[in-house]
């Protein structure tokens, strides 16, 4: 049985953002194009990531970190987790000071310590998910050093349950994703691992003859196998990597996203690897995956070469109902868009989509596809930043700090860069997530920067009408219905938009589990929902400008 719970219309919660508008410095933008204003300080998110570099050039120093937008205290608004790295070797200096900012309506308040979030590894990323099915969001943190699972006690605090749960992967992990891959009603976990660097085996790289040391290329080390943890349903996980066929391939794993790419009802996995072929694991539906990236056309560049895959996003960018894939790369290596052509085939559309050329000068990390202007199609944001500080060691025009980019969708997946979007801070960015932090109906952005202050951008519009869905299931332990697919057709519109509830993506990051649909001028829409276990529901004439909680009760 489905119940739709309608929350307040947008107008009633917009007052707070109005205050920001009055005081914000707004960059000039093309008429009609979405604009953002940096509000980190004003909103109280004054986080500064530290990589702790001491001149030893430990490779993880270049990598972190991620950002998570999630409602950890179940009060209906989004809170912000910003992962901090710390110092290497572990224990030699300041530990990770990963921050959790609780959204108190008017400001964000940092409460990581009182919430019991103590990251012991050298922090990389994080992903939220209700692993124990108790209705609140737990948190999995990836790191150089053992990863950690923090269970949400339901009272605004967490407890470190790593040991008992068996998910403390000691390998150097970058990103992770939750999903009910075996469809047994609880969340399983995929962890993308990078390379077998260790502080005890820190190779010397750079221009040795000139005495210029630098961070090493990933191929100096060996790629690591990723991990697939199957949830046993009792709060513990088993390492099912080998049994599921995902633990054998070694790659330099960076970003991962779980998505039903072939629309067969089973969540697949796509992993962006750094200078090794990307991996696409098709879920066979029998507990195992089949790696098909090469034959699917999503493993390599258009020239058949592995690329420096960093972040990853999976959405229906061209509105054809199929989930496309995007990966971000090094400079001079255009970001990729693999258009899903159906029948397990992806077509490299990086050039024709318009995302390639503007990406050439930048090293891309975080990436999100969201409808920033709520006009009915998905836009793109990319977080950029170089890895090497010493530009004498870098060829070309590259700079360490690089601007982040917004691409607007002209419809049908044709993208155009909006350089006037107002992403005004220029840092070396890594993690990126988008969510409606101020509850005004449009999507704001949070960027975590390497060894610098984080960026928080409020979306100033203009914005079309919208619908937002929060899915809740009482049927099983996958309470937030990760993997559910929602299609929205605006009234009078010809095209549907398809999106999935997703835990993890971008780079070491996670955007909210809510699904945001822009409706343009439409006042209502028809909504199709496919729940993770396959049940389908249709809602007609759903009025616009609402966040709707769709609850699936335990009754059959």
């Amino acid at each position: 049985m489905i119940r739709a719970v309608l929350s307040e219309p947008r107008d009633m919660v917009a007052a707070w953002s109005l205050g920001v508008l009055l005081g914000g410095v707004i960059a000039p933008a093309p008429a009609g194009a979405v604009r953002f204003a940096d509000v980190a300080e004003r909103w109280g998110i004054e986080f500064r990531h530290r990589h702790g570099g001491t001149g030893e050039f430990y490779m993880p120093e270049t990598m972190g970190s991620g950002v998570v937008l999630f409602d950890f205290d179940s009060d209906g608004d989004l809170d912000v987790l910003l992962v901090d790295s710390g110092t290497l070797p572990l224990g030699s200096g300041e530990p990770s000071r990963t921050a959790l900012y609780r959204n108190d309506g008017a400001r964000f308040v940092e409460i990581a310590a009182e919430a019991g979030l103590e990251v012991t590894g050298y922090g990389m990323g994080a992903v939220p998910g209700d692993v124990d099915g108790d209705g609140d969001l737990d948190l999995y943190v990836t790191a150089y050093g053992a990863n950690q699972l923090f269970l949400n006690r339901g009272n605004g605090t967490f407890t470190d349950a790593t040991e008992g749960a068996g998910v403390g992967d000691p390998l150097w992990s970058s990103s992770a994703a939750f999903g009910d891959f075996d469809r047994d009603g609880d969340l399983d976990l995929y962890v993308a691992n990078y390379v077998d660097f260790s502080v005890d085996r820190n190779e010397t790289c750079g221009k040795k003859e000139l005495g210029l040391r630098s961070y090493c290329h990933p191929n100096v080390y060996r790629g690591l196998p990723d991990r697939y943890y199957r949830n046993r349903g009792d709060g513990t996980f088993e390492d099912a990597s080998l049994a599921a066929g995902v633990g054998v391939a070694r790659g330099n794993g960076m970003g991962v996203v779980a998505s039903d790419l072939d629309d067969d009802g089973w969540l697949d996995l796509y992993v962006a690897n750094d200078m090794t072929a990307n991996l696409l694991y098709r879920n066979r539906g029998d507990g195992a995956f089949e790696e098909i990236a090469m034959l699917a056309g999503a493993a390599l560049s258009d020239r058949g070469e592995p690329e420096a895959g960093m972040g990853v996003a999976a959405e229906d960018l061209d509105g054809d109902g199929r989930i496309d894939l995007m990966t971000t790369h090094l400079d001079r290596q255009p970001n990729a868009l693999y258009g899903n052509a159906g029948a397990g085939l992806f077509v490299d559309r990086r050039f024709s989509s318009g995302i390639a050329e503007p990406s050439l000068p930048y090293v891309g990390f975080g990436v999100v596809m969201e409808d920033l202007d709520s006009d009915g199609d998905l836009d793109i944001v990319v977080a950029n930043g170089h890895i090497i500080h010493d530009m004498r060691l870098v060829t070309g025009k590259a700079s360490y700090r690089q601007p982040n980019q917004v691409f607007l969708n002209r419809g049908s997946g044709q993208m155009v860069e909006n350089a006037e979007a107002g992403l005004s801070r220029v840092e070396s960015s890594r993690g990126l997530a988008a969510g409606d932090l101020d509850g005004d109906g449009d999507l704001d952005l949070v960027v975590n920067n390497s060894d610098a202050a984080a960026e928080v951008y409020e979306n100033l519009g203009p914005s079309g009408r919208f619908l937002r869905f929060a899915l809740e299931s009482e049927r099983d332990a996958n309470r937030f219905a990760v993997g559910a697919r929602v299609e929205v057709r605006p009234s009078g519109g010809k095209r549907s938009q398809a999106r999935e509830v997703r835990a993890g993506g971008s780079y070491q990051s996670a955007s909210p589990l809510d699904l945001h649909f822009g409706l343009g001028d439409s006042a209502a829409a028809t909504v199709h929902i496919r729940w993770p276990e396959g049940a389908r529901v249709e809602l007609r004439d759903v009025p616009a400008d609402r966040r709707i909680v769709l609850r699936r009760s335990s009754a059959p």
Binding site: K207, L242, M294, R332, L345, E357, K397
Partner: protein
């Protein structure tokens, strides 16, 4: 009075690497070439247009040679700038020369300024906008690149490299129609430009025109077979056509060889590169892409500058061996070992090469030395032990491998080698135990696990468990498509199951991997024959005979095919007779004699055919064959010859 020649000699005398190409270039570049003084020098110089200031480069990260080269050129340029009478073309040349070197050494801002100045000073010289465009393409400034390329086309409307570059740049900007137009213009001038066919193929692929993409890319590959990156596009196009098997096969062939076009201006830059680091970098990149032929000259030019670099010598040796240039490869590796007898890699490479050549005693000695240098390196230890087994010292080998595994129980490479040695020693149970561990673990890359499956397949076959063998071989080729023996074993399995097309594919892959393997070539030909693909079988046999001109089984098979093919275009009685006579002279067997008879009948020499066939029938009868179906068939053929008819019975092995 000293002339330029004297000055050049002086300069060469001061050069650190006398006699080297880089040294010569540095010296030459510092001087305007005699006879190339612009005519404009004789007349009053026109007013100099306002030029952008060219800052001094920061050269601290450049090598000495590069620093010297750039400093000298800059000094020359500054002299010309300071002299108001310098003719504009000469000044343009100096800016352009420096600009392209800045481009070469990635001093991008300076390259831009210098080349823009050159363009301004000599607006009708196509080189400067061309270099600017190349530089801007590299930097992702595609719109500016297009502007400059269009300027080149104004000056040289039919410049092929410019047309191809315009196709590429428009393609990168998503300008599909414009890209197509420029590629087609290039092909209208020269229909053999692989890069233009490739560009069009990529556009067709993205447009979902899969068959057109296949045709385009196949044409490009025909024109430039080493551009194997195109197999990726080809594979995707086959995939789009729904032909998964062909897609898989094409994708396997992608070794990242780039499609190229004649680009004299850019190619000239490579020669001017004075950076040893650049040469070694290019060599390493080529090695990483497994482009051995491209790596070799880079290593050679690097070694001209640094002749005693053992790492480079070792890599060059490996590349030469990979190209079957054994003599040079061995010489290079021996030189590496001579320079540094304690270099583990060089000792190991030399040992491996000697083992491949069958010079086992020498190989063992170098393996032993490499192991001594680095006893902790398990791969060396394992390979050494494996060779011990090969020379019959099986117990010693097993003991070494077991000791290696005692030290490091997770050493899957050592375990794999132990498994393979145990298989050869016939200790199948122990072998299977070790190999299963390797096959199931994540410790080795896919090829390693594939090899374990291959050996497990051999174990299963020897135990008579055909189903298990089949499964292991299937996994082996999936995980290790580059393992020729696994491909061959899978081919045999599929041939037995009657899947001849797939079998032929597997044998063809084995041949591709090991072209010098006579057995693979024979089996490929047999699979094609049994699959009634006579023309392909003939082609495969002709190729095989070029490789193994005296191989009697291959000659016999071809003779029989030429005498008995159902396709008249494949049959060739005269050649069949010639081949069969040669075979019979070397080894007179019943089958060989029958083939000769068949060939003779094919060219109408029925009496001789009948005479040979009678000998066959008589001999077969003496050997107790009489009364059986084979004997009846021989008699039938005899009757045909006696009636003046050919008998075309294909060889079935």
């Amino acid at each position: 009075m000293r002339n330029d020649r004297d000055a050049l000699r002086d300069r060469l005398g001061r050069c650190r690497w006398r006699g080297s190409r880089a040294c010569l270039l540095v010296a030459l570049l510092a001087f305007p070439a005699a006879g190339r003084q612009p005519a404009a020098e004789a007349v009053a110089a026109p007013a100099r247009p306002p030029l952008a200031e060219l800052p001094q480069p920061a050269l601290e990260t450049q090598e000495d040679a590069v620093r010297g080269q750039l400093t000298e050129l800059r000094r020359q340029l500054d002299l010309l700038i300071a002299d108001p009478s310098t003719p504009l073309p000469r000044l343009a040349e100096a800016f352009g020369r420096l600009g392209r070197l800045y481009f070469l050494y990635d001093l991008v801002d300076l390259a831009s300024i210098a080349l823009e100045n050159a363009k301004l000073l000599a607006p009708n010289d196509h080189r400067w906008p061309y270099f600017l465009a190349a530089h801007q393409t590299f930097e992702g400034q595609l719109e500016e690149a297009i502007g400059n390329l269009e300027r080149v086309l104004e000056l040289r409307p039919n410049d092929l490299p410019t047309l191809v570059r315009l196709g590429d740049v428009h393609s990168k900007r998503g300008g599909v129609e414009l890209a197509r137009e420029f590629y087609e213009r290039a092909l209208a001038l020269d229909e053999d430009v692989a890069a233009a066919h490739a560009g069009l193929g990529r556009l067709d692929l993205e447009a979902g025109q899969h068959q057109r993409a296949v045709d385009r890319v196949e044409r490009a590959l025909e024109l430039q077979p080493d551009a194997d990156e195109l197999y990726h596009t080809l594979g995707m196009a086959y995939r789009g056509l729904g032909d998964v098997e062909r897609a898989r096969e094409a994708l396997r062939k992608n070794k990242h060889g780039r499609v190229t076009f004649d680009d004299p201006l850019i190619e000239s830059l490579g020669l001017e590169n004075a950076s040893a680091e650049a040469h070694i970098q290019m060599a390493s990149d080529a090695m990483r892409r497994q482009e051995l032929a491209k790596a070799v000259p880079y290593y050679e030019s690097y070694l001209e500058l640094k002749p005693d670099d053992v790492v480079a010598l070792n890599n060059l040796g490996i590349a030469l061996l990979g190209l079957d240039r054994w003599e040079e490869g061995m010489k290079t590796l021996r030189r590496a070992v001579e320079i540094d007898p304690n270099h583990r890699g060089a000792q190991y490479s030399l040992a491996t090469a000697l083992a491949d050549l069958g010079r086992y005693d020498e190989a063992l000695e170098h393996y032993r030395r490499a192991h001594e240098i680095d006893p902790a390196e398990k791969v060396i230890h394992a390979d050494w032990a494996t060779l011990l087994a090969k020379v019959g010292r099986v117990d010693e080998a097993i003991a070494e491998l077991r000791s290696l595994l005692e030290e490091d129980p997770l050493q899957d490479y050592g375990r794999l080698k132990l498994g393979s040695v145990l298989v050869e020693a016939g200790r199948l149970e122990e072998a299977a135990q070790e190999l299963r561990q390797v096959a199931d673990s994540g410790g080795l890359q896919r090829p390693g696990r594939g090899e374990a499956h291959y050996h497990l397949g051999v174990v299963a076959e020897r135990r008579g468990d055909a189903a298990k063998a089949r499964e292991h071989y299937r996994r082996a080729i999936e995980l290790a498509p580059g393992l020729a023996e696994a491909q061959r074993s899978w081919g045999v399995i599929r041939a037995r199951e009657g899947a001849l097309e797939e079998a032929a594919g597997a044998f063809a892959r084995a041949v591709e991997l090991e072209p010098r393997n006579e057995r693979y070539r024979f089996e490929l030909s047999m699979a094609l024959l049994l699959g009634e693909r006579e023309a392909e079988a003939r082609k495969a046999l002709e190729e095989a005979l070029r490789e193994f001109p005296t191989a009697i089984n291959l000659r016999h098979l071809l003779a029989r095919l030429l005498a008995s093919a159902s396709d008249p275009a494949v049959r060739d009685g005269e050649r069949a007779v010639e081949l069969a006579q040669g075979v019979v002279e070397r080894a007179l067997t019943l089958d060989h004699a029958e083939t000769l008879a068949m060939a003779l009948a094919e060219i109408g020499r029925y009496d001789e055919a009948a005479a040979w066939q009678r000998r066959v029938v008589r001999q077969a009868g003496d050997e107790g064959e009489a009364g059986g179906p084979a004997h009846a068939a021989r008699l039938e053929r005899l009757e045909r010859y006696e009636r003046g008819e050919p008998a075309r019975t294909p060889w079935r092995g």
